[in-house]
Structures are given as C-alpha cells and as structure tokens.
Point group: C2
Chain length 500, copies 2
C-alpha cells in the first residue's frame, strides 16, 4: 500500500517542518533576537511545540503504523522502510505519553528559564536562576512519570536522549572513565610545567580567528553553501534540513583555542547533519541516532583530528598567515603540545580531553540526585563545588564558572551523558577508520580529510537512524559501545605529551 | 461569555504564532540563509501556511464569531472587542474562500519564484523568470476566483491588500497623481541643472553608512531593544511581535542616499509595528490597517521628515562626523537640495517623491492587464519599457533595472498600489499633525521627533485595526482618503527647490 506509506510520510513531513521551523526560531533566539523579543518568541515556540506534538501523536499516525508494520513485517530489520516504521514507532510511543499541555508548558518554562539564566549570569548568582530551574526540574519529573521507567525517573530522560541507555549503565561508563582518568589528571598535575601554552594566550583578533576557523571547517568538509556560522553566547549546531545546517561559535579575543576549537567541534556536528540521508529528510529516519552519537562526530573532528600532531603539520602554515606575530615562530611540536595542555579547569567547554569527562560526571551525578530528590535546586552550587573538588581538585569562585555555565539546564535533563558517550564512540570510530583506511594520520598531515569524512558518511551519516548506537558500532567497528579505545587513546596521547 | 472570547483569542493566538514563525523563516531566507537552503525552506513555509490556514479557518472560529457577534452587537463599532470580531470576521470570510491546497501551492510557487528571480537577476533576463512568474499569475487568478469580485478579478487582490479599494478607484487615484505629476516631471527635466547631488556620489564606506542610518532611526524613535537591522538584497520590514521588529537595508557604497533612506523608510514601517497595541497582540486587531497605511509611515519618516530642510539642519553635523571628507564642506541648503534631486530613473526604490508614483502606475497597470488577460508574462518587459517611456521618458537597458527589480512578483499581485496610498496618506497625516502639534518643522530642526511619533501612536499605531483607512483618516485628519494634500506638498516643495 504505497498510499499508506505516502500518507504516513506526508504527516511526518508536516511534523518535521514544524520542528525545523522551531529550530529556526531557536537559532535566531540565540544569535540575533533583540533583548525584548523573548516573551513573544516563547509563545511562538510553545505553539510550534504544541502543534508538532498534535501532528506527530495524531491517532492517524498510530493507525498507519499498525497497518504498515504488518505489511512490512517480513522485510529485514534494516530495510529502510521497516527502519522508518521502527524509529517512528519508538518516537510515537514516547510522545503519545506526553500530554500536549506539558509539552507547551515545557517550552514556555524553557523560554523563561533562558531569560532567568541570562539574568543570573549577569549577576553570577545561581540563586537567581534556581526558581526557574526548579520549574524545569518539576516538569522533567512530570515527563519522566509520563514516559515511565524501570528503575528510577532519570532513566526515562536518559533513554529519551540515548535510546537504550539507563542511568545505572551510564554511571558505570562514567565510573570506568573516572577510574582511568583520575590518576591521569593527578599525574599530569604533577608535571604541568612540561607543556607551555602561553603563546595561545594574547591578542588574537576576532576576524582572523573567525577566518581561521572557517578555513579549517571548510577543509574538513563542512559545506558553507549548505550551512553557515554565526556568533552566540554558547556555541551550538542546529539543522533546518540537510541543505541548511547552522553552526555558531563564541570567540575569545584573548585565547585562540576557545573559538577555533568551538568551530571545529560544531563543524563536526554540522557535517553529520549535512550527511544525513536526503531521501529520508523530514522523517525520523533521516535524523541522527542520538545526542551521544552526534557528539562523537564533534569530538572526533575537534579532538582526535583537530588536536592531532598531523593536523598541526597541515594547518600551522595557515594559522601563521592569520597570526603572524602571535604564531610566527611556533613549530608544530610546540603548537601540538600547547593545544593539548591539560589542567583542571572550571569551564566544561574549555576543558581538555583528560578532564572533560569529569565535568560530565559532575553534571550527570547532580542531575541524577535532583531527579531522585536527593538534592534541591538551591543546593546545586554546593554540590557542584564538592564534586569539582573531588574530581578536579578545584572549586568555582562564582556560579558563572560553576553551575550557570551551561545553557542545557534551561531546557531539561539527560543530555550531558551524551558528551561522554560521544568521546567513547569517537575513540571506537577512529580506531575502526584507521583500520579500514590505512595511514589516516598521514592523510591528515597532507590535509586530506575526504577519506575520513567519506568513511563516516558510509558507516554512520548516510544511515540516519537505521541502526541503534550499538548496532551501528557493531557494523562499523566490530563491537558494541566500549570505553576501552577512548581510554587507550587518551592515555597514550597524554602520557607521551607529558612524559609520564 | 468570557470563555467564548478566550477560546477565540486562544485560537487566534495559535494562528498568529504560526504566521510570526513563518515571518522569522522568511526573514532568515532573505538575510542569512545559505544558497542551498531554499527548497527545504519552501517546504517549511508551505507547511506553516497550510497549518495557519487550517487553524484560522477552522469551523470553530466561525461558530465562535457567530455567537460573539450576537453577544456584542449592541456595543459601539469601535469598542475593541467588537472591532476584533469585525476584522476577524472579514479575514475569516476571505480565508475560508481559499482552499488549503491553493495556499500551500502559493507558498511553494513563491519559494520557487524567488529562486528563479535571483537566477534571472544574475542573467538580467526576465524571460528566465517568466515561467515561475506565470505560475504566480495563474495562482493569483485562482485566488481571485476563490475570493470573488464585483467588476474584475484584480479587485479581489486589491481588496485583500487595501480593504475597500477597487481597481477602478485605484486607477482614478493614480490618474489624479499622474495629472499633477507628469507636468512637474517635465518642468523639472527642463531645469535639472538647478540641483547638484554630485556630493552624494562617491566613496561612502559601508560601516559609516550603517551607523548613520542607525543614529537617525534611533533619533526617530525606532527601538533597537525591540528590533534590529540586518542586510538583505531588497530592504524590508517584518514583525515577530511588537517587541521584535526587524528592518533590513541594502547599502550602496558609492551612493549615500540609497542605504540611508532605506533605513529611514524601514524604520518608519518598524515604528508602526512597534507601536501596535500590545494588548491585542497575536490577533487580527493588533495589526496594521493595510499595506498602504503601513507605507504612509515609511514615506512620512523617509520623505516628509527625512528629506525636509529641517531634518538636515538637525542631522548634518552627525552626517559630517561619519563622512568628514565627503560632506565636510556641505551646507544644509546644498544637502537638502541634493537629497531631493529629482530625475526620471529606472529603479523604483531609488526614485524621488515626484517620480515615485509613476513607477507605481507602471506596475499597477501591468498587473491589471495581466489579471485581465490583456498581457502575457513574456510580454511584460515590452509593456514595462513602453510605460516607462510614456511616464518618465526613459527605457530600461536591461531587465535587472526593469521588470526584475522588485521582489513583489515572487509573491503575488495587488500590493504595489499601497505605495501610492501610502504617499497620499502620509500627506494627509503630516498636514493634520502640523495642525495639532504647532510648529512641527521647528521640532524636527531641534531633533525632537517624539511629538510626531506620539501623535502617530495616538492617532494610528495604538488603534491597530479598530478603524478602516477612511475611518482612521476621518478621525485623525477630518476627511477621508484624499490625494490633494500630498499633491500640494510635492508641488510646493519641488517648485521651490527647482525655482519653477
């Protein structure tokens, strides 16, 4: 019944168009919207979310799924049409459990929380954000109850962001990372003087930083005819379709890596979005597998590629053109070591590969405690300080570099774990791509990024959501989610840099 | 029955949010969207238009209107709630006549026509745009049939843009303008040497032009906390709500008035949008009366104020700061005469106050002939050339400065007449404001624009659509739509400048 499938597709297209329209409004909100526009924008986003929910959860879609699942039941599980039914069903079941009023209320609360977050940041006081944040927490609890869960409410949110993952399995993965990384942090701290990054600090003009980032992102393969970069407080990527992917960056004119690596990071996200299957555009099948898998692409391009010795063999001459006085005398080895300087720091987005996952552990464990009712919003700054002390040996001197640093809590919970999943997956994919492609480091040295991007297109991007995270990893790497390759990569790299 | 009214309001809010969301997408399309984003954006806009249509034309709104009209029938006609019912009813009747499929098709065709228009402009050939334009024409004919009309199909489109106006009445207004202005054009042409605008041509850096425009718009009263300016090919204003109004400009680095007066023009539009009644936001009552009345605000601030002798007495010192070499030696009189230089020219947006309405006559008469079937899309360039010859004595050397110059035909017909209505209304409002406020020119000389803006707020902006164009004019000026004040204003001004 091609008609039934077309009917389903038309309905999914309508819903997706609403979602992408909301993405445009969200992008504008973070980039260009004037200060007073927030209230109206909140109304509009709430309406789009409500209508999306109404379209996507319409009983007609449920009936079409019922009929089509029967019709396609003998096809292999990775037949695209059957995969479409599978991912649509999963999302349909999730979303039909959320009442329309809750969806609208979450959008409205999120717009208000964003406003409160901006105001609280200006005063550097989490307490000003706490009431709006408490509302977000309550609505997330309501959502978890509506979704249902096996062990604890937080599971429902984790599973929403990372299909199949639970809070306890996520905690195990974080524990594995902590076990390997805490000693490494300690050892590096004892030999911090072995890496000097002072040349990255100083006057790095905005425009030259901007252009250097654009050059690197273009070389990687981000297509600026099908996307663009703008400025926002907190860098992000959003997609209005495979042919219109927006990345943003935030440039610090006194510190080169901040904006440059934000651009490479978001370009990694952006190339995933640009590589999704156009033939399944505007459907759940034409989307990324999960936030964590998305993060694997940003971390792979930002860190595994962009912070490699070979990348700087390729890119240093270009960087010297943009920064002749700042980097004119730099050699590749010094640059490589400088951009991999590791130090416990307060701000996640500026964290290095060794400390990054510990920042995630702080947030994940706080979210989990909040969801379990073992922590209240006003106690978050204290909990934050204690965990930072335990994992990284430092405490934030104010909330701006503490619990107010991330935009995520203006929306909801469950997404931070994706960053660690991303690191883990980036290690696995890099290992497999190296195995398949031959001398990948040498390609990077020559500025040949197309083979790696092509491998990622074939093994991940173009498949959309045909496979789950574990299935995709089995096909591409031979095994399921596994932290070992990432831990091995980080340990080797940093032991060499710091001579441990 | 407050509940019924609240139910109606909630439905109108939902529809308006969809409309404003579409406005955000449209704004992005014209300002920042990457080249390949067009197809996806067309899909999204089509979906938003379809859903807007579905929401706004839902039978529930019809039933609520029926019930509420009975309930409020004894209130005075300008009671806001009764006015809300009146304007909502008018729009409801209009829109229920348009099938949802036609709405979606018009959106899609419009996105395609925009693409074709950009491509045709690159080649300067209208023929490349003609097929997409023919589709627009056909869909406009379909819309006219769906709306219904008394005399000719074009009436339906005119009435949609300018409630109550017909093609024949519009033609009469244009004929009155032509009768007064054609001789003036002729007389000025014989004394062209009496005004020298050469100092406005030359190197006017983008950034300084941008800032000069922002300064003037700010002085007028455009609120940049509730709006912003960006760059687009064709300047426009769009509103996402009273607290988020976007204007754009297009700067010509070799000719100062182009970008500067675009900014003042759009700021005039923008201040109308920022002044609409917040308590009726997200409803048809909280909107501008018509495109023509909207244009009265842009023309009033751009021309009647911005091209006055008194404005330059106020603003020239600022302009000299931005352009010390270009304008350092200019005096007010020379500047005033230069910005009012009148000459038959090919491009509408650069036309002066004497020739502007003749450009409108060209377009209006071509649209009318197309709608009547007396002209085909491929014959538009010839018709254009002939009319330009008759009214202005010049012919376009290519279509870029001919029939391809305006973006409007990528959308539909009926809106151009609004520019002439705008000029006419600006003359009436200026006359009445001068009567009410005392020495308005002297206020402008001192940079005091608040009294004029306040008068416009009270007599127009804050009323939303409580009154029709004629009703609003009767209240504010004492009489209905009348071309005489504008004709008198233009004749006096230009006879003095050119010593006629």
């Amino acid at each position: 019944m091609g008609d039934r499938l077309n009917d389903l597709l038309a309905r999914l297209h309508t819903a997706d168009d609403l979602d992408r329209a909301a993405a445009v409004l969200g992008w504008d909100q973070m980039t260009y919207m004037p200060p007073e526009g927030n209230a109206g924008r909140g109304d509009q986003l709430a309406t789009l979310a409500t209508l999306w929910h109404r379209e996507f959860t319409s009983p007609a879609i449920g009936e079409l799924l019922d009929a089509l699942e029967t019709e396609y039941k003998d096809r292999p599980a990775d037949d695209p049409k059957r995969a479409l039914l599978h991912v649509t069903r999963r999302q349909y079941e999730k979303k039909t459990k959320l009442p329309e009023s809750l969806v609208a209320e979450m959008q409205r609360a999120s717009a208000e929380a964003y406003k409160a977050w901006v105001a609280a940041r200006a005063e550097k006081r989490f307490s000003l954000f706490a009431p709006a944040f408490g509302r977000i927490l309550q609505l997330n609890r309501d959502a978890a109850e509506a979704f249902g869960y096996a062990e604890e409410p937080y599971d429902a949110l984790i599973d929403d962001a990372e299909p199949g993952l639970t809070a306890s399995r996520a905690q195990q993965l974080l524990d594995a990372l902590k076990q390997a990384l805490l000693p490494l942090v300690q050892q590096i701290a004892e030999h911090r003087e072995r890496v000097d990054r002072s040349m990255l600090i100083g006057e790095y003009p905005h425009e030259a930083q901007w252009q250097a980032g654009i050059d690197a992102a273009t070389a990687f393969g981000f297509d600026f005819a099908r996307g663009r970069q703008d400025v926002s407080i907190h860098p992000f990527t959003t997609s209005f379709g495979v042919d219109d992917v927006r990345i943003t960056t935030h440039i610090n004119p006194g510190f080169f890596p901040s904006g440059f690596y934000s651009t490479l990071h978001e370009a990694g996200h952006g190339m995933y979005e640009q590589g999704l299957p156009a033939e399944w555009a505007r459907t759940p099948l034409g989307q990324a597998i999960s936030g964590g898998v998305h993060e694997s692409q940003s971390r792979l391009w930002e860190n595994v590629v962009g912070r490699s010795h070979e990348f700087w063999e390729y890119f240093l001459p270009t960087a010297k053109r943009y920064f002749p006085t700042q980097l004119g005398h730099a050699d590749v080895e010094t640059m490589y070591r400088a951009v991999n300087y590791s130090e416990p720091s307060l701000v996640r987005v500026d964290a290095d590969e060794v400390t990054y996952n510990l920042h995630i552990a702080v947030r994940f464990e706080i979210e989990r405690a909040l969801m379990q009712g073992n922590l209240t919003p006003q106690d978050v700054p204290d909990a934050w300080a204690q965990k930072m002390q335990t994992y990284l040996g430092i405490r934030p001197h104010d909330d701006l570099v503490g619990a107010l640093q991330d935009i995520h809590w203006t929306g909801g919970f469950g997404s931070f774990i994706g960053y660690s999943i991303g690191n883990i997956v980036s290690g696995q994919l890099w290992q497999a791509a190296s195995r398949d492609l031959g001398d990948l480091p040498d390609m990077i040295r020559r500025g040949e990024f197309a083979p790696l991007l092509g491998w990622l297109r074939t093994n991940l991007h173009q498949l959309g959501r045909t496979y789950s995270t574990d299935q995709m990893l089995r096909r591409a790497t031979g095994g399921p989610l596994d932290a070992a390759p990432y831990i091995d990569y980080v340990q080797r790299k940093y032991r060499a840099i710091y001579g441990l």
